[in-house]
């Protein structure tokens, strides 16, 4: 199981579901549709637009600006990361304002109409800037709580599995990043895990729920390097297929954005770490050993480095 701080959180977890963020989303979406609408007008009726503003017919120029509007509109509506596209809209607004400022000096223009257009563009610019800013802030302020849930089927009774997991001292045997778990009292234990860059992460944990043969839940106590909690549930699988083991983990790295960047360099996706740990638990419980190839011969000078590299590369596929 991964107790390393600072893993970048999953995308799905990053969408805040409070009312404020919904408003922001709605505003962004509205601006997206506005972009597309304005773009269409610029492309379909450039001559009429020119007449309205009282400028010469810059057909091609209007159409190019229309395309730009549509591109940023589609970008805002279709991409998950809207922030960049919204800033692109802000850039477009500035170009529009500059263009309006330039034509305002010519003699043929209708000053009132230009003023109306400028006011409209300026208004939209304000909205664009606000929306883009808020979305950018939101991206930086996301908290880095990592939640992972994984399930595996093990061909042993839930009693056996509960008993084995319940003795926390067994956990480091199959949890790769865990170094040791020492019991303090019945309910409390001291955990030591490998952190990024060779650092150690320590905390005390207590059992919060313990239903024999069914469920064990635990969480870290105050003063933990990494605030975390977890649970494991054992359910008899249908058709005599053993036991379904579900693990849920969450942890909140304290180091914030910097920690996340560092961890990204050293670690892998927490989902995968948990899955591999569960695989090892299954191997241990079903076969009595955790199969390995480390230490076998090969016709190369250093087996482990290249081997690890392959494994890493392969796990980056998808």
């Amino acid at each position: 199981m991964n107790f390393t701080p600072g893993y970048e959180e999953e995308r799905s977890g990053s969408i805040k579901s409070n009312a404020e963020s919904l408003d922001k989303e709605r505003l962004a979406r509205g601006l997206g549709w506005f972009s597309i609408g304005l773009g269409l007008v610029e492309i379909v009726a450039p001559r009429r637009l020119a007449r309205f503003l009282g400028v010469r017919n810059h057909g091609v120029l209007f159409r190019i600006m229309g395309l730009r509007e549509i591109a940023s509109g589609v970008g805002i509506l279709s991409q998950r990361q809207r922030t960049g596209w919204l800033w692109a809209r802000v850039g477009g607004d500035i170009i529009d304002l500059l263009a309006l400022g330039k034509v305002a000096k010519s003699e043929t223009v209708k000053p009132i109409n230009i003023a109306i257009a400028t006011a409209a563009v300026a208004g939209v610019t304000v909205l664009d800037v606000r929306c883009a800013q808020e979305l950018s802030d939101g991206a930086q302020a996301t908290d880095h709580t990592v939640k992972v849930k994984k399930t595996i089927l093990i061909n042993r009774s839930h009693e056996d599995l509960y008993r084995h997991w319940g003795d926390f001292q067994n956990l480091p045997r199959f949890m790769k990043n865990l170094e040791s778990v020492e019991p303090i009292t019945d309910k409390r234990s001291h955990w030591v895990a490998k952190g990024p860059a060779g650092k150690r992460v320590k905390w005390d944990a207590e059992i919060t729920e313990d239903r024999p043969n069914e469920l064990i839940a635990w969480r870290s106590l105050d003063g933990a390097d990494v605030e975390n909690s977890g649970s494991v549930r054992f359910e008899t699988a249908p058709g005599g297929r053993g036991t379904s083991v579900s693990v849920e983990m969450q942890y909140s790295p304290p180091a914030g954005v910097v920690g996340a960047t560092v961890a990204k360099l050293f670690g892998r996706a927490p989902e995968q770490e948990v899955e591999e740990d569960l695989r090892r638990f299954k191997q241990m419980m079903e076969t009595g050993e955790i199969i390995t190839t480390h230490g076998q011969p090969a016709g190369r000078s250093s087996t482990s480095w290249k081997y690890d590299q392959t494994v890493r590369r392969a796990s980056a596929w998808s």
């Binding site: 299954k282 076969t287 076998q296 011969p297 392959t310």
Partner: protein, 462 residues
Amino acid sequence: MKANCWYGKRDVRVEDVAEPRILNRRDAIVKITTTAICGSDLHLYNGFVPTMQKGDILGHEFMGEVVEIGPDVRNLKQGDRVVVAFPISCGKCFFCQKELFSLCENSNPNPWMAQKLFGQSPAGLYGYTHMLGGFAGGQAEYARVPFADVGAIKIPNGLADDQVVFLSDIFPTGYMAAENCNIEPGDTVAVWGCGPVGQFAVRSALLLGAERVFGIDRFPERLRMAEDGGAEAINYEEADVYDILMEKTSGLGPDSCIDAVGLEAHVPGLIGAYDRVKQALMLESDRPHVFRQAVLACRKGGTVSVPGVYGGFDDKIPLGSLMNKGLTIKTGQTHVQHYMRPLLERIQNGEIDPSFVITHRMRLEDAAQGYEIFLNKTDDCVKVVLKPNETYPMTTKANRFSDDKVLSDRQSDHSAFSKGGATMAEEHEARQPYKCAVCGAKFDSQDQLQNHLKICTQKKSQ
């Protein structure tokens, strides 16, 4: 020790590497006496299967003597003579308990790699990519056998290496392919590919009660060997396979079709060029021509059995034919452990002698040459076995690939060969001086002969 290692496309070399040691409690170390090059090794040799690493030890068909066992292996002891199944299987998981050994859940240390490509990971295999475990293989002097208590079968005295080594893969593979056809008396079975697996599929189909078996290939020596096994030969370069199968089955199509070719089908004409181009551009991982042909030729409601290896995502599969004709597809890596014992009995009973398929016996050191002639089918090559602990080049057919010095050493050491150009049969005889008076079978030692005599006389008296 010496081991045959993979270094890239068409680049294998016998190198000095460390000897294997026990890494898990259910491991054993086997000193290899006979190992073989499999057709599926050629897919690695040609670089078609991803996740190989330079220096990986190849080989998944091997046998030898147990020299060391882990503390949890209770059914083997030092000195036992064993054949090792190519899938590594724990024997305890849901799949192993259903005897679906090649689907073992616990033997692949890198299951996530296979999961990405296949959805779920099958068993780990010896010397067959890191996606399938990255285990060191058996084209070596020694090999580590994980889960040895499940994967190694003891061989009684009285049987020569060459008779039993193929229990590791190709005999069970051909047999499972035929068994998957659910053959009923009077059935017709068509086998695409008369390589080693195809040869065993032909013979197994007949053992299981098929009335007619067609062997499809283009190499005369392979077609001849299939005919020797009881098949009717079809050369796909001389006639359209579909047309000829329809003609021979009065338009019904064969009851079962076996694709013993897999991902590197050689296809003449436009569709062949299409697959080759797509494969070269990495738009398609395999060349599934034989599978297409087998589906189209198979009789309605029949079975297409696929022992041939495929690796990825293939185009132009006739799903319409598959669905509308109500075909059954049966496939999978072989559940070797399930078949080893019954097939060993068939060998002991004299129902089949798998050594018929061997055309080349070579030293381990000559492995690279072995791959080359096996790939190019030069010198009428059908199957190469390697003898890691023999020091002289042994196969007459392979002699021309050995350097003169070694050849002359061999001639002075072994006067039996001194005439040069000796045939395989002569060599076999020279190596196995003990001959059974009842059936004529030959053996390496007096012991083996004695054991054989017991079985042989019993059989005769029945």
